[in-house]
């Protein structure tokens, strides 16, 4: 909220510089997002044009004689066209400093000009919000007064961040009250006293007595979402620019001045926090104000000129014939205050916040009024808002009628009771009874201590304070959060464990140890990713769709981590080894499915190798084996399988027992083509939730006797796999300690439709040195089995 320090000073004494005010506000929970430093201006005083003459030597200049309450009148030549005798205006005297210039004596076409008349812009105000030409001050301003002092133009403007619970502080009074409490200073309350009734001079000059109690408008509240509705009629008004001090206040607060009536409604909202609406009395159809739900399809043209079609979410202010405003949100054009308005009705109402919020969301319309009304304003504020507006309208010449309130009246004030030890229990430091009472009273509470209990009566504007913890926060804000001690807790044993995190961490650090670079990529993607995969002929699960994406680029949740990894590789080229841990999303039968995976991609530079021993595949398989070993303590078994994104003939499922813990394979060539990847790429996925946790290993002593290694070259049919052959050898004899297939060969030497697999078999005994004869016997037995099961023959 834009907060001119000058405006705060109307209610609380602030002998602090801007930085100190900013710090003080932050210390009590109102951080300042930005400070607008005001330009340095001096030497500008209030002057009155007592004589205006044409410049003798220049058609476009006029010469003003100006009274600035000094012994001598000032003579100032001006090119401004909006000047007239009798006007009160800001005068920059000789030596004055303006934002962009310093005023020196100068001759204007032969006349010595002793200063300059100022526009609003020359005083550092938004020029387009004020009259063109010279700024007009009020005739009541004291001549010779310093304009900067008068308007407080030397004070900076703060952009204060107000948390949504503190709607009471979304106004100058509220922030001033908070600052006052923090500084131990009293706050002034805006004047609200008025005289009711009076005399009006009619247009034909007749004097008419105006009754003080004639609302002459019926009010019907058809919805409980209007908790209170205060209506007050004001007669005998003239629409004109507001007083200059009010226009300056509003402009500094970022509110464009319009006219005296509109400005007063805005001023009161910014001052005391109660949004108001003014109806032109003459335009209220049937002199009946009705608060009711909108009918589906009902239409209204709001003050901004928009025609809006409503549904029953909307709550309306209506007269007997039509909707005249969106409750708590925005007025309608039909009853708008205009140049011809002579009488108005002040609406100062209180709404059920969530209703206003629903309506605001449904209409996509947020206003200064709705941001306040949706936060459950205090009911009592409705009466205050009307009274303050009446006072200001009276100063504009209005005749004030007695206000009429409808709906609820403010209830009894809340009393919160809590043990005096509660501050200590929650915050860890003790506060004396006196400190607690003083802090609360400074904030407008009425606090007493009764034995061990603190009783705090909550002021009407603090609807956010309802429980003991709220009171503790109030006390802490004032005594200072700096009092919170620094204590390391002794955390007791608990039942929560970190298993899942540790598994992820282990996979990540092992992946890095194996040479992969970890990436984190964004989890939302465009439809194009899915389309690209489907077009390439890859199976894609039904992706999860975001209903309200920010853009089409982010409409779907990722169904695989492979696409972004491939994009990085396409961008950066090979060699590259990347991995990512993250969640995959797909639509399930009833609910979306979320799965935690680790995905690895290995891109290598092109190399020549026979198609049946792909080094890209083996390189990644060895790393996946290592990862699974690290995570579960045992090596997975590779079983031929298929998996989306992987080559259907070059993919293995990784099994631990019966559980598939992941897949490893060569990238599907259709994807490699789609992503324009040159070299060989392999990819793997591990399902983190499927990985069994490592069980405690038991140690098997290594044999102390020498081992014998035998290499066998076997000729088999091409479909016999290295895994089948090794399993058969391993299961054959307890003497076999290790089997490793280390080469595959196909070619003319062994004939068509055959392949040769070379394996090394390690034989060893635990109890004695093995003899060659024993080894020969074992190998012979192995060969016999391989011959039986695979028709394997020794390569001659």
């Amino acid at each position: 909220m834009r907060t001119p320090i000058a405006w705060l000073r109307d209610y609380v004494e602030l002998n602090l510089d801007t930085n100190a005010i900013v710090e003080q506000l932050a210390a009590i929970g109102f951080p300042v997002d930005a400070v607008e430093t005001r330009p340095h201006i001096s030497g500008v005083v209030v002057g009155k044009i007592v004589k205006l003459e044409k410049h003798p030597n220049a058609d476009r200049l006029q010469v003003c004689t100006i009274d600035v309450a000094r012994e001598q009148m000032l003579t100032i030549a001006t090119a401004a066209t909006n000047v007239a005798e009798g006007q009160v205006i800001p005068v920059a005297t000789i030596g004055a400093q303006l934002p962009t210039m310093k005023i020196e004596p100068r001759k204007m076409r032969g006349i010595d000009s002793e200063g300059m008349l100022c526009s609003a812009e020359e005083l550092g105000l938004p020029g387009e919000w004020f009259e063109e030409g010279i700024m007009q001050l009020d005739v009541s301003c004291r001549l010779g007064a310093d304009v900067v002092q008068m308007f407080g133009l030397q004070y900076d403007v703060l952009d204060v961040d107000i948390t949504p619970n503190r709607v009471d502080a979304m106004c100058m009074m509220g922030l001033a009250r908070e600052l006052g409490a923090a500084l131990g200073k009293p706050t002034k309350v805006p004047e609200t006293s008025v005289s009711y009734g009076g005399q009006r001079v009619d247009d034909d000059g007749a004097i008419v007595d105006v009754s003080f109690d004639s609302l002459d408008v019926r009010v019907t509240l058809e919805s409980l979402d209007c908790r209170r509705y205060v209506a007050q009629r004001v007669s005998s008004l003239r629409v004109r620019p507001a007083k200059s001090w009010m226009r300056v206040r509003l402009a500094l607060a970022g509110q464009r001045p319009i006219n005296n009536l509109v400005d007063i409604s805005n001023f009161v909202m910014l001052e005391v926090g109660q949004p108001l609406h003014f109806f032109d009395f003459a335009k209220i159809g049937g002199k009946h104000i009705i608060v009711r739900d909108a009918k589906p399809g009902e239409q209204i043209v709001t003050l901004d000129g928009e025609e809006r079609t409503l549904d029953s979410t909307s709550l309306l202010i209506a007269d007997e014939s039509q909707a005249t405003g969106l409750a708590g949100l925005k007025g309608g054009q039909v009853s708008e205050v205009s140049e011809t308005t002579r009488e108005l009705v002040i609406e100062s109402a209180n709404w059920v916040g969530p209703r206003i919020r629903r309506m605001s969301v449904a209409l996509g319309l947020r206003t200064d009024a709705s941001t306040r009304n949706e936060k459950n304003l205090a009911i009592g504020l409705a009466d205050l808002g009307a009274a303050r507006a009446a006072r200001l309208l009276e100063q504009e010449g209005g005749i004030i009628h007695i206000p009429r309130g409808f709906g609820k009246t403010p209830g009894e004030l809340t009393v919160v009771k809590l043990p005096t030890t509660e501050v200590d229990r929650l915050l860890g430091f003790t506060v004396s009874d006196k400190e607690m009472i003083d802090a609360l009273n400074a904030l407008g509470f009425e606090a007493t201590v009764n034995g061990m209990m603190l009783h705090a009566t909550v002021p009407m504007w603090r609807g956010d304070v309802t429980i003991a913890a709220d009171i503790v926060e109030e006390i802490a804000r004032i005594v200072g959060y700096g009092r919170v001690p620094t204590v390391i807790p002794a955390v007791p044993e608990q039942t929560v464990t970190s298993d899942e995190f540790h598994r992820e961490r282990l996979i990540a650090s092992t992946g890095a140890a194996l040479g992969f670079a970890e990436v984190f990529s964004l989890a939302l993607q465009a439809k194009a990713v899915e389309t690209r995969w489907r077009d390439a002929g890859i199976d894609v699960p039904k992706p999860v769709e975001i209903r309200n994406p920010l853009s089409e680029d982010q409409r779907y949740m990722r169904f695989s981590l492979v696409p972004s990894l491939l994009e990085f590789i396409a961008r950066d080229g090979a060699p590259r080894a990347l991995f990512e841990l993250g969640h995959l999303f797909s639509e399930g039968a009833s609910d979306p499915i979320e799965q935690s995976v680790a995905t690895f991609v290995l891109a290598q530079t092109k190399s020549d190798h026979p198609a049946y021993t792909d080094p890209t595949f083996l390189a990644l398989k060895s790393k996946m084996n290592a990862l699974v070993r690290a995570a579960c303590g045992s090596e997975p078994t590779a079983v031929r399988a298929t998996y989306p994104a992987l080559h259907p003939g070059k993919t293995a499922a990784l099994h631990i027992g019966d559980v598939v813990v992941g897949y490893v394979g060569v990238l599907d060539p259709r994807l490699a083509f789609a992503y324009e990847l040159g070299g060989p790429v392999s990819a793997a996925v591990l399902f983190l939730d499927a990985l069994p946790h490592a069980t405690a290993a038991s140690y098997r002593s290594a044999s102390r006797f020498p081992a014998i290694e035998r290499d066998l070259a076997l000729i088999v049919a091409p479909e016999v796999s290295a895994g089948d052959l090794s399993d058969a050898v391993r299961g054959n004899s307890p003497l076999v300690r290790d089997v490793r297939v280390f080469d595959e060969y196909r070619g003319a030497q062994i004939g068509e439709n055959k392949k040769s697999l070379a394996m090394r078999v390690t034989l060893q005994r635990d109890d004695a040195t093995m003899t060659d004869a024993e080894a020969d016997g074992a190998i012979a037995a192995i060969l016999a089995v391989l011959r039986d099961r695979f028709e394997a023959t020794i390569r001659g």
Binding site: A26, I28, G29, P31, T163, P164, R166, P354, R357, R358, R425, L426, L427, I467, A469, D470, V472, E473, A476, R477, Y481, G482, V484, T486, V487, P489, A490, V491, P492, E493, Q494, T495, V496, S498, E500, F501, A508, A512, L514, G515, A517, E518, F520, S521, L522, A523, L524, V544, I546, R547, N548, L550, P575, R576, A577, L578, G582, H583, F585, D591
Partner: protein
């Protein structure tokens, strides 16, 4: 001097000359074979013992053996000196050590992972567990159970991606407070690192997906000072031993009292710089005492247990730590970025 002595002496001179002339191990071996080998000169001399009268033969044998020993010692010494020469030559070699080595592939962890690990290390040292959770959440866990009923104005700042009216992408890691407390009786001490999503357009400082670390301690006698203690330690572990922590009052529906947490700007040590915008402090995120309504929503009794919670942005911590200025760098994963910070 006997004939034998003369022969041996002549042989020794020739042996010596041959050794001296042998340039390498192979030549030395040839010398060994020629003189000491099975059919070498010594063998010929040994055979000539048979021509001597028997009484002289033992003495002659001894003489020959002594000579052989001397020759072998000489040979060994020649071998040793040859090896020494090789080593000297090896020592004399030089290379251009500035010649660039091929780049060894070193795996890396993403900076977000690194910060998560550091947070986990610190909190686990103090008895906390680290838990993870789903990114698709129910509206009830993400909002209602955290004391943010529908139409609450606080939902404004937590603009969500919805999958269904009742399902969304979690806007913070806080629903894990609810999940953890529902499954476990107090005491509960956890941190929750993980992804969160908010409908923010992407720019240098915002991203619709980001990482948070939630912290929660609930039990008997837990107070706000314990949070300050843990966070002071955390900041010291992350940024250095001089870090201080301060609380500023704030508002979050699921904590009361609530506080924003600041720590000394590591860039300037608190004197004010560009990183901290001159304030000397860096904002870490929100915190507070768990709201009694949240404790009640998980079946805890707020009169018996108290607790605190915090939620910090991991990217924010990493950006301060690594002096980064653009949050998008985290998700673009360029080789330059990963090599520098991974």
């Amino acid at each position: 001097m006997s004939d034998l002595d003369q022969k041996l002496s002549a042989l020794a001179s020739r042996f010596d000359a041959a050794l001296t002339g042998a340039p390498d191990e192979k030549a030395l071996d040839e010398v060994r074979v020629a003189f000491l080998g099975r059919s070498g000169e010594i063998t010929l001399i040994r055979r000539s013992i048979g021509e001597l009268p028997p009484p002289e033969r033992p003495e002659a044998g001894k003489t020959i053996n002594a000579a052989v020993e001397a020759l072998e010692a000489q040979l060994q010494s020649a071998l040793a000196s040859l090896e020494r020469r090789h080593l000297d030559a090896a020592l004399d070699e030089t290379i251009d050590v500035t010649f660039p080595a091929p780049r060894a592939a070193l795996g890396t962890l993403h900076p977000i992972r690194r910060i998560m690990n550091e947070l986990a290390d610190y909190f686990e040292r103090h008895g906390f567990a680290v838990v993870l959770g789903p990114e698709i959440e129910t509206d009830a866990n993400n909002f209602d159970a955290l004391n943010i009923p529908p139409d609450h104005p606080a939902r404004e700042g937590l603009d969500s991606f919805y999958l269904r009216p009742d399902l969304l992408l979690r806007t913070h890691t806080s629903p894990m407070q609810v999940r953890t407390m529902r499954e476990h009786q107090p005491p509960v001490a956890v941190i929750v690192p993980g992804k969160a999503y908010r409908r923010d357009a992407i720019d240098a400082r915002h991203s619709y997906m980001f990482h948070q670390c939630e912290g929660l301690l609930v039990g008997e006698g837990v107070h706000f000072g314990h949070l300050k203690g843990m966070l002071t330690g955390m900041c010291r572990a992350l940024f250095g031993p001089a870090q201080a922590v301060r609380f500023r009052p704030s508002f979050f529906p699921f904590t009361e009292p609530s506080a924003e947490v600041d720590t000394t700007c590591p860039g300037c040590g608190g004197s004010g710089c560009r990183t901290c915008g001159g304030s000397g402090w860096i904002e870490l995120g929100g915190s507070g005492m768990v709201h009694p309504n949240v404790l009640r929503s998980v079946g805890y009794d707020p009169s018996l247990v108290t607790g605190w919670a915090f939620g910090f942005g991991i990217e924010r911590i990493a950006m301060v730590r690594y002096e980064m200025s653009d949050i998008r760098d985290f998700y673009e994963n360029t080789p330059a970025f990963l090599e520098q910070l991974g």
